[in-house]
């Protein structure tokens, strides 16, 4: 049995979590997920400005902070903190924690091969809209294939203490230690599928151990000290999900089910680089306090195509807010919106979309919102997006003047003029698996 703990569900997650996992009890592996869908574009920009950047910069200091404990407790780390520059990341880790052995997994970055792929006739159509990639060719910012767990397992096999990859399937971080220790092969579909289910459960960190949990949320013990989850994985694919004793939060089958259903499509055919998983085959049961066991998972052969995450420039956006109080809070907010749109229109400014929300009324639930009569206050938020940066910029100067030129008692402008932000959009596409060649390097 091996213990795999996930200390980070996304870049920006609770900084204390990985440290507490390492301190709070025995674990064999610590995984950390740094890459949201469009993170790669931010990192590509950084690398363009400085060839020594392009990775998650808080990863090396974290390793520096826990290096002593990693060594004492023989804990290995698997993380996708490498972004678009795993080698630079590895070097920074070695500087922060000399004496650790670090290996990187390369080959996911295909930004430099887009024209080659287009030349070979791969259309790389957007999986959702079906448009061909050629329509956005000159606006592409990053392109990475989602690699699976086997290259990461190969990196563990070098004896590395820290394995750093670029883009990989989220659950691959958790499955890699299982492949490495249990010797699973590419055709062990049921076991790989079980590993992916376990990985899916813990890949969002505390979201399976009491965080963002609807079940009896008011009574979740000690949420400030919520315990991040640990998978106890067995060679046959069965697993338990648990957390360190003495930590806050709660692990039970209801909370785990919430996480299982999070961000999935057809549960019978959950596609991953290593296999297709049938979530309807999982048998789940509560086997003790803060302990859920999973078994019975079935999987099928891996798809012939790999998913690629491509990001591209899709314009500019900005949004601003103001608050109006009772009486007639909603009416004041609506008038503020009307005035703003009229002023933008009079300037001849055009946007792809102007979108207005009223917080305290129906911003979250829209037509399904519970009716509110006479709210004590309403926050109006107006957002615009479009290709013309100057138009978006002009919008950012239109809301604060409403305080002096619009409905009475406007407030909540203290954060100042809104920021114009670049829209980096996500283009999921498929590329043939054979085009991706990964390799493992030990960095010294």
């Amino acid at each position: 049995m091996i213990r795999i703990a996930n200390g980070q569900g996304f870049w920006g997650d609770w900084l204390e979590a990985p440290v507490r996992l390492v301190d709070g009890g025995p674990i064999d592996y610590l995984t950390l997920d740094y890459l949201a869908e469009v993170t790669m574009s931010i990192l590509q920009k950084q690398r363009q400005q400085d060839p020594e950047l392009g990775y998650a910069r808080d990863f090396p200091p974290l390793i520096g902070r826990i290096a002593k404990k990693l060594r004492e407790r023989n804990i290995k780390v698997v993380a996708n903190a490498g972004g678009v520059n795993p080698v630079a990341c590895a070097r920074a880790v070695l500087k922060a924690a000399p004496g650790l052995k670090v290996a990187v997994v390369l080959g996911d970055d295909v930004l430099g091969r887009i024209d080659e792929f287009l030349g070979k006739g791969y259309e790389m159509r957007n999986i959702d809209t079906r448009e061909p990639l050629s329509t956005i060719r000159d606006r592409i910012l990053s392109a990475n294939a989602y690699i699976g767990a086997f290259p990461l397992a190969e990196a563990l096999a070098t004896g590395a203490d820290v394995v750093i990859s670029g883009r990989c399937a989220d659950a691959a971080l958790v499955v890699a230690p299982m492949i490495h220790r249990f010797g699973w092969g590419p055709e062990d579909y049921d076991k790989l599928a079980a590993g992916i289910v376990a990985g899916h459960i813990i890949e969002c960190g505390a979201q399976c151990s009491g965080g963002n949990c609807q079940v009896d949320w008011q009574n979740i013990p000690d949420p400030a000290n919520i315990g991040y989850p640990i998978v106890e994985a067995e060679p046959d694919g069965s697993f338990a999900v648990t957390k360190h004793p003495g930590t806050g939060g709660r692990i039970d089958s209801h909370g785990v089910k919430e996480q299982l259903l999070y961000e999935i499509g057809d549960p019978r055919q959950y596609m991953t680089p290593d296999c297709v998983v049938d979530f309807t085959s999982l048998h789940l049961e509560d086997t003790g306090p803060d302990r859920v066991r999973g078994c019975g998972v079935r999987g099928g052969p891996r798809p012939a195509m790999l998913k690629a995450s491509i990001s591209f420039h899709a314009g500019w956006k900005a949004s601003g807010t103001l608050v109006y109080s009772w009486p007639n809070a909603l009416e004041k907010a609506r008038v503020a919106d009307r005035i703003t749109r009229q002023r933008l229109d009079q300037l001849g400014l055009r946007f792809d979309e102007i979108y207005t929300e009223y917080f305290g009324v129906n911003a979250c639930h829209g037509p399904a919102a519970r009716r509110v009569d006479d709210p004590p206050e309403v926050q109006v938020r107006i957002g615009v997006r479009g290709a013309d940066k100057r138009a978006v910029d002009r919008f950012t100067r239109e809301m604060i003047p409403l305080v002096l030129t619009g409905p009475p008692g406007g407030t909540g402008y203290g954060e100042g003029r809104p920021e114009v932000r670049q829209i980096v959009a996500y283009w999921p596409a498929l590329i043939p698996r054979d085009e991706i060649h990964t390799r493992v390097e030990v960095v010294e």
Partner: protein, 110 residues
């Protein structure tokens, strides 16, 4: 009698691009048939009104006594494109709790 969905199920929502997914989990295994009968794609689309611009798909997980609903074109373009504050649909699972369903009193066993 009419009751809220929250009486028999809990939910969790997330996003996949411009699609909001909502997991609906029965509190008790014996409530799962009620979910199958009452939480139909048509009713869910109707409940959310103009917020859901595409269709609603429903997938069944009898092993977990749960449904996975996919609400297409519900997130204003989704991801970074969307101007919605809740671009990732994190509050939509909670919204669905208020949906009214029809049950027979005898079906509520706890």
């Amino acid at each position: 009698m009419r009751i809220s969905l929250s009486r028999i199920a809990h939910t969790r929502s997330g996003d996949k691009g411009d699609i909001a997914n909502i997991g609906v989990i029965a509190w008790q295994p014996q409530y799962y048939p009620i979910l199958l009968r009452e939480v139909t794609p048509e009713r869910v689309k109707d409940f959310f009104g103009e917020m859901v611009k595409g269709g609603v798909d429903r997938f069944e997980l009898p092993n977990l006594h749960a449904l996975n609903l996919m609400l297409h074109r519900a997130l204003g373009g989704g991801g970074t494109v969307s101007l919605r504050t809740d671009a990732q649909g994190k509050t939509l699972g909670a919204a669905l709790l208020a949906m009214e369903i029809e049950v027979d009193e005898r079906e509520l066993t706890d």
